[in-house]
C-alpha cells in the first residue's frame, strides 16, 4: 500500500497533519499530481501554508463536524473544567471575603478555629490560587476525554449540590443565636470546599473507590467535627487549635492529595489507553 503516513510533516499544536491533497480527480486517471506548482514551492513555505492556512481551516471545520456524542463530551468536559475551577476558587474567595468579619466575630465568641494570623491567611490564599490553577490545568488537559468528561461533570455537579445542602445543615446546627449563626458563616466556603473536594476525589480520582467509604468519610468527618467543636475542649498544637488542625487535615489535606493523585492517575490512564471510553 502506498505509505502516505510515514512521515508526520505538518505539526499542529495537538496532533499532526500528515498529508494534504487538494482537488478531486474528474476521471479515471488517478490523483497523480494535483496542483503541480505547489511542488515547486520551498518546503518551509509549504509547511507554513499548512500550519497557517490549512490547519486553521480544518480545525474550524472539524469543530462543527464532531460526532454528536463527542461534541457532548467536549461540552461536558469544558463545563467540568469550569466547575472544577469554580469549586476550588470560590470557597477561597469566600474565605478572603469573609475572613476579616468572620475573624472578628470568631474572636468575639469562642475563636472556634483559632486561625487568626494574617500571614496564615495570605499563605492560605496563595496556596488556594496555586491549587486552583494546577487542578484547572489538569482538568483542562484531559477535558475532552470521555472518561473525564463523564465522571468529572457528574462529580462536580454532585459536589455542588452536596456542598450547598451540607453547608446549610451545618449552619442550622449552630445557629443557637444570631451571633453564632453569623460566626459560622465563615465556615461556609471552607466546608463547601471540603465537601466538593472530597466528593470529587471520591468520584473522579478513584482514590476512594467505594461510595460507602466516601460517605462514611464525609459524614463521619462532619459528625466528629461537630462533636469535638461543641463538646471537647481543644488542645492548642503549635499555636493552632487542635480542632482546626483536624478540620484542615480532614477538609483540605486529604481531599487535596486524593484529588491531585486521582487526576494524575487519570492522566496516566488516558496516556496509556488513549482510545478508552466510558
Amino acid at each position: 500500500m502506498i505509505q502516505h503516513h510515514r512521515q508526520p510533516l505538518a505539526a499542529s499544536s495537538r496532533g499532526r497533519i500528515l498529508q494534504v491533497r487538494l482537488g478531486i480527480n474528474p476521471n479515471s486517471s488517478g490523483f497523480g499530481i494535483l496542483y503541480a506548482f505547489f511542488f515547486f514551492l520551498p518546503p518551509a513555505i509549504l509547511s507554513l501554508l499548512v500550519a497557517l492556512v490549512v490547519e486553521p481551516w480544518l480545525r474550524r471545520a472539524l469543530r462543527s463536524q464532531q460526532p454528536a456524542s463527542d461534541r457532548d463530551i467536549t461540552a461536558r468536559g469544558a463545563v467540568a473544567a469550569l466547575v472544577w475551577a469554580l469549586a476550588w476558587a470560590l470557597p477561597w474567595v469566600g474565605v478572603f471575603v469573609f475572613w476579616e468579619p468572620a475573624r472578628v466575630l470568631a474572636l468575639s465568641t469562642s475563636d472556634p478555629v483559632g486561625i487568626t494570623g494574617s500571614y496564615f491567611t495570605i499563605l492560605l490564599l496563595v496556596l488556594c490560587v496555586l491549587i486552583t490553577l494546577a487542578i484547572t490545568y489538569l482538568v483542562w488537559r484531559c477535558r475532552r476525554h470521555p472518561l473525564l468528561a463523564k465522571s468529572s461533570a457528574a462529580a462536580a455537579g454532585s459536589a455542588l449540590i452536596l456542598m450547598l445542602s451540607a453547608t446549610l445543615g451545618w449552619m442550622l446546627l449552630n445557629h443557637s443565636s444570631i451571633q453564632e449563626f453569623f460566626s459560622t458563616l465563615w465556615f461556609l466556603p471552607v466546608a463547601s470546599m471540603a465537601l466538593a473536594l472530597i466528593w470529587m476525589a471520591l468520584r473522579l480520582g478513584g482514590s476512594i473507590r467505594s461510595l460507602a467509604i466516601g460517605l462514611v468519610y464525609l459524614v463521619g468527618g462532619i459528625v466528629t467535627l461537630i462533636v469535638t467543636f461543641l463538646y471537647i475542649p481543644s488542645p492548642i498544637v503549635g499555636g493552632i487549635n487542635g480542632v482546626s488542625l483536624y478540620f484542615l487535615l480532614w477538609a483540605v489535606g486529604f481531599p487535596l492529595l486524593a484529588a491531585i493523585y486521582g487526576l494524575l492517575r487519570l492522566r496516566r490512564t488516558i496516556d496509556a489507553n488513549p482510545e478508552s471510553t466510558v
Binding site: 500500500m1 502506498i2 502516505h4 503516513h5 510515514r6 512521515q7 508526520p8 510533516l9 505538518a10 499542529s12 495537538r14 496532533g15 499532526r16 497533519i17 500528515l18 498529508q19 494534504v20 491533497r21 487538494l22 482537488g23 478531486i24 480527480n25 474528474p26 476521471n27 479515471s28 486517471s29 488517478g30 490523483f31 497523480g32 499530481i33 494535483l34 496542483y35 503541480a36 506548482f37 505547489f38 511542488f39 515547486f40 514551492l41 518546503p43 509549504l46 509547511s47 499548512v50 490549512v54 481551516w57 480544518l58 480545525r59 474550524r60 471545520a61 472539524l62 469543530r63 463536524q65 464532531q66 460526532p67 463527542d70 463530551i73 467536549t74 475532552r144 470521555p146 488513549p274 482510545e275
Partner: protein
Amino acid sequence: MRIQKVRYEHFGGIVATEDPVSLAWVDRDYLRARGFAGGAIWSGEDPGYLRAPLEMEIAIGSRCNLCCPCCYTTAKHDGRDVPETQVVRALQVAAEMEVFHVAFGGGEPLLHPGLLSLAREARARNLLPALTTNGTLVTEQWGRAAHGLFARVNVSVDVPGGPRDPHCSSDVAWRAVKILRQAGVACGVNFIMTSRTFDLLPQVFEGAAKAGADSVLLLRLKPAGRGSAVYDALRLSSAQQKALLATALGLSKRHHVPFHLDCALAPLLMTAGRSSKILHLLGATGCIAGQLLVTVDLDGMVQPCSHLDLRVGPVEDLPELWRRRPAWGGFGASQPALSVRCATCAVADLCRGGCAAVKNHHGLSLAASDPDIACQPK
C-alpha cells in the same frame, strides 16, 4: 471549508473537505484532540492498506457522440447506458465503504439520461461526484443544474491538430467551460498530450485562461481504448517529457492557471528533484490502481484501473474484495517488487514504476518499469 466526512484509518484518519475539495491525512492525536474518538481500526493491527479506496470511477455508459482517436475508451455512437439501478448499487457500496469521491465515466456522461439523478444519488450518500465531458452537450440549463451537484466537471479540450474528433471544433469545448464557470461549477480542462500536440500547450493554457477554467489537467496518451491504436505513433518523446515540467510551469505562471499531471506523468515530477517531504505532504502518487482508486465497468465489475482488463469481482463484493489483497494481483501488494531500474529509486513506493497500462501494452509485468517514461530514478 465544509467537512465532507471523516474516515478513520489505522494511522488516524482522512478528513475530506468540500469547498475547497481536499483530503487531509491526520494522525490519531489530531482527531482525538478535536473530539473524534476513533474507531475499531485504531485498536487493531495496521492492515498495511487503506480501509477503502479514496475514489471510485463508475462507467455509466459506452455511448459517445464523438469518436476521438486518442480516447481511453472505445465508446461509440451506438453504445449503451448502464441502468441507473446498477450505478446506484455501486454508489451504495462506495458510501458504505466511506469512499470520498466518485467520477462518472465510460462514454460521454452527459448522454446518460439519468446523469443528474445519479449525481443526486451520490450526494445523498455523501459522495462527491465529478466527471469529464467533451462539452458538446453542456448548456446553460445543464450548467445551472450541475451547480452544487458536481464537485468538479472537466472538459476535454481540443486544439487545432489535437487528438479529438476532427469533426468537432475546439470552440465547443471552450464554450462549455465558459458556461460551467458562469454557472459556478468548478471546471478545468483536460488535455491529452501527444507528440504532435505537445507544442500546442501554449494554446491550451491561453484558451483555458480566456475561458475561465480553473486548471489544466495534462494527460499522457495511454494505450487504452482507441488510444491503443495510435499510442506507439503519438506518444510523447523523451525530449518532450523532459521539457514538460518547465513548459507547464512557465505557462501556468504566465496565464495564472494551475495545472495537474495525471498518474501516468507523475514519475516525471517525482524524480525532478523535489524533496520526499514535499512529495509526501502533497500526496504525490503515481499508479494508484487498486490502492486508492477502483473503477467499476459497464457490467458492474470492479477493476483496479479502467485502462486495464483485470476484473476483480462484482462491485457488490467490493468490501470483501478490498480486504482480499491477493485478488488484486500485483495491484494488491503493499510495496511493489519493481525491476532493476526502479528498485533503488527513492520514490518507487509512490510512483510504483509508472503506468500499468503502458507496461501491459508492451507485454511487461507490473513489476517492470514503465519503458516509455523519461524519468531519472532518484
